[in-house]
């Protein structure tokens, strides 16, 4: 039998990809702390200077270097743990928040539901990236002037990014719950006198948990895409460092402090025509991660659909079949 769901090849391969990436990301700075921080000032061949940073992927394999001369590949691998960890926190907070809001949505009176839906419909037209840029812009400035502590700012960023899409998701979840509560066993449970809380605890939560794994991967992908957009908007998550590049005139460049991928994109997107690989390398990391997550999500969704169809087929089989005994020849 073909393995499905959590035990399918697709899911296991994807999971091991992330385990390896995270292990490498955590272990790399411990095993060789110099690799991701050491800058190669000039590249020499004998005594001749061949190149100065930023090195192209050909001069400095596999992915070239950044403006200071650090190996981009190690830098991005070291930054992987942060971006995945951030995405994980945001996803979990977003799912829990929208589940709670969705539950509330299911049990409130009809006119409140309608007005909440109109509100959410309006909210869904505002591009999330632009809105979070405006929302976090003031705090960004405050952090720059050292009025607002940077650590608290990071927590604020994560919470804002989590909650910003929660209303839209909550209506989605709520609508599905409403559909689910029309099932026979829920209706009869209510007829037998079950309270809203009981139905929520016994029927709604298990149903959501079953679906949540699929939603989880969908939201992870959404958030990774949002990170790339925020990178373009120069909204850097998790602090920045400013390095002066000018020799006589100040030439300030911002760098992501922890090299999370979207920050690397944001810092180098303006130099795309000078050193394209610096912005494309993190985008490549994003693309691979999103592809893997999509595959994992698809594997889970397929398995859920399969169990449903298997159940339906089993039901059909159980239908009483006409046996020989039901009919007998009538002698005339």
């Amino acid at each position: 039998m073909k393995r499905t769901g959590f035990r399918s090849f697709q899911f296991l391969a994807g999971a091991s990809f992330f385990v390896v990436l995270l292990m490498a990301s955590v272990l790399l700075p411990i095993i060789s702390p110099n690799k991701s921080t050491d800058a190669l000032v000039v590249l020499r061949e004998g005594k001749k200077i061949v190149a100065v940073p930023p090195y192209s992927p050909l001069e400095f394999p596999p992915l070239g270097s950044d403006r200071v001369g650090r190996n981009l590949f190690y830098l991005l691998v070291a930054g992987a743990k942060y971006i995945i960890f951030f995405a994980l926190i945001i996803t979990v907070v977003r799912l829990i928040a929208s589940f709670l809001m969705g539950s509330l949505y299911t049990f409130i009176p009809k006119w409140l539901q309608t007005s909440y839906k109109i509100f959410v419909n309006a909210a869904s037209f505002v591009p999330v990236a632009l809105f979070s840029f405006f929302l976090l812009g003031t705090l960004d400035k405050a952090v720059e002037y050292k009025v607002f502590p940077a650590d608290t700012y990071l927590i604020y960023q994560l919470i804002v990014l989590a909650l910003i899409a929660a209303p839209v998701l909550s209506v989605f979840i709520g609508e599905e719950m409403k559909e689910y509560m029309k099932q026979e066993f829920v209706v009869s449970s209510r007829l037998m006198g079950a309270s809203n809380f009981h139905i929520w605890r016994v029927h709604v939560i298990p149903h959501f948990l079953r679906k949540s794994s699929i939603l989880f991967f969908e939201q992870m992908v959404q958030i990774l895409l949002l990170f790339t957009h925020l990178g373009v908007l120069q909204l850097i998550i998790g602090g920045k460092v400013i390095i002066d590049f000018g020799s006589d005139m100040p030439d300030l460049k911002t760098f992501s402090k922890i090299h999370e991928w979207s920050g690397v994109i944001g810092n180098h997107i303006r130099e795309i025509f000078i050193a394209p690989w610096i912005a494309i390398a993190p985008l490549l990391f994003f693309a691979v991660s999103i592809f893997v997550m999509n595959q994992m999500g698809t594997a889970l969704r397929e398995s859920l659909q399969e169990t449903q169809t298997v159940k339906r087929k089993a039901e059909i089989k159980e239908e009483p079949t006409t046996e020989e005994g039901d009919f007998s020849f009538v002698r005339r």
Binding site: S115, F125, V126, A129, V147, T228, F286, N294
Partner: protein
């Protein structure tokens, strides 16, 4: 008649809600001289009131340019909006037509080709929109450096320099991938319906059954998915405007709409055509369904 009034009320309330949502960033205020960040509800309410006032006579609104000149906001925003609107609409229809074509190809091709198409779509679906734009720009530049031949305009210089081909291409490709994936998904379900079998048994050709009968039903289902695609394209538009320096509305809002009034109005302007198109589509679909019954 009752339905029209209901729709009108929904429309007005939604516009109001957009204003309330778009002004939320005004809740946080950073005072540079006092060096504090404060959560200020009165400022928020004031900003909402000002926005509603500005909405009643949009011509009076102004914005500050880089050179600290005050210019009327609405006419400039409207110009940018028309340009963005053009791009989105053209891209949207090209994406739908291409997706339908691919869906047809998928249905008539062999199992191996089906698998290849599906895998390619999976890969295309995973690529971030930023990457599509950046990679094509870099490729075009390197071709230009080698051969002195520019494929197409990849970057716009200023508001009056309007480019069409490249933005439309970038705006089409990812919605196309998503639409095709969804279309193939529902097409597969649809061909297992009994009416397809019946039509084939009657002796109708495969092409006729797929193009006329199956597609008619599938397009009705696609209507519900159009909303997701449209919203996805809007967020693509933002990145594209910035990366290509287009004179579109998102670029304008990003650079000048710090007061949130322009932002609210821009979002309402985005909502209007969508509302009209969606209602029209709904009317069309419901009439279609009724005819079938």
């Amino acid at each position: 008649m009752k339905k029209t009034i209901q729709l009108l009320i929904t429309f007005i309330i939604t516009c109001g809600a957009i204003v309330f949502i778009c002004n939320i960033p005004r809740l946080f205020n950073f005072d540079r001289s006092e060096r504090i960040v404060k959560l200020d509800t009165s400022m928020y309410i004031q900003a909402v009131g000002e926005t509603f006032q500005a909405l009643s006579h949009p011509a009076s609104m102004t914005y500050l340019t880089d050179r600290m000149k005050e210019l009327p906001l609405f006419s400039r925003l409207f110009e940018a909006y028309l340009y963005s609107f053009e791009l989105v609409m053209i891209a949207f229809f090209i994406a739908i037509v291409c997706a339908c074509f691919l869906g047809y190809l998928f249905m008539v091709s062999s199992k191996l080709i089906r698998k290849i198409i599906y895998q390619l779509l999976n890969i295309l679906d995973a690529i971030p929109d930023v990457m599509v734009i950046v990679v094509i720009q870099v490729i075009a530049i390197s071709i230009f450096q080698k051969t002195e031949w520019m494929l197409f305009d990849i970057y716009s210089f200023g508001e009056d320099d309007r480019i069409y081909f490249f933005p439309i291409f970038c705006l089409t490709i990812l919605p196309f991938a998503q639409l095709s994936k969804y279309l193939i998904f529902i097409l597969r379900d649809e061909v297992e319906e009994s009416y397809v079998e019946f039509a084939r048994a009657k002796g109708l050709s495969v092409n006729r059954v797929i193009i006329i009968h199956v597609f008619r039903n599938v397009l009705l289902q696609l209507h519900g998915h159009a909303r997701t695609i449209f919203l996805f394209m809007i967020s693509n538009l933002l990145v594209m405007d910035l990366l290509m320096n287009l004179g579109g509305m998102m670029n304008f809002l990003y650079s000048y709409a710090k007061s949130m009034q322009g932002f609210s109005i821009g979002m309402i302007m985005l909502y209007i055509p969508f509302f009209l198109l969606f209602q029209l589509g709904e009317l069309f679909v419901s009439r279609f369904r009724r005819e079938e019954m």
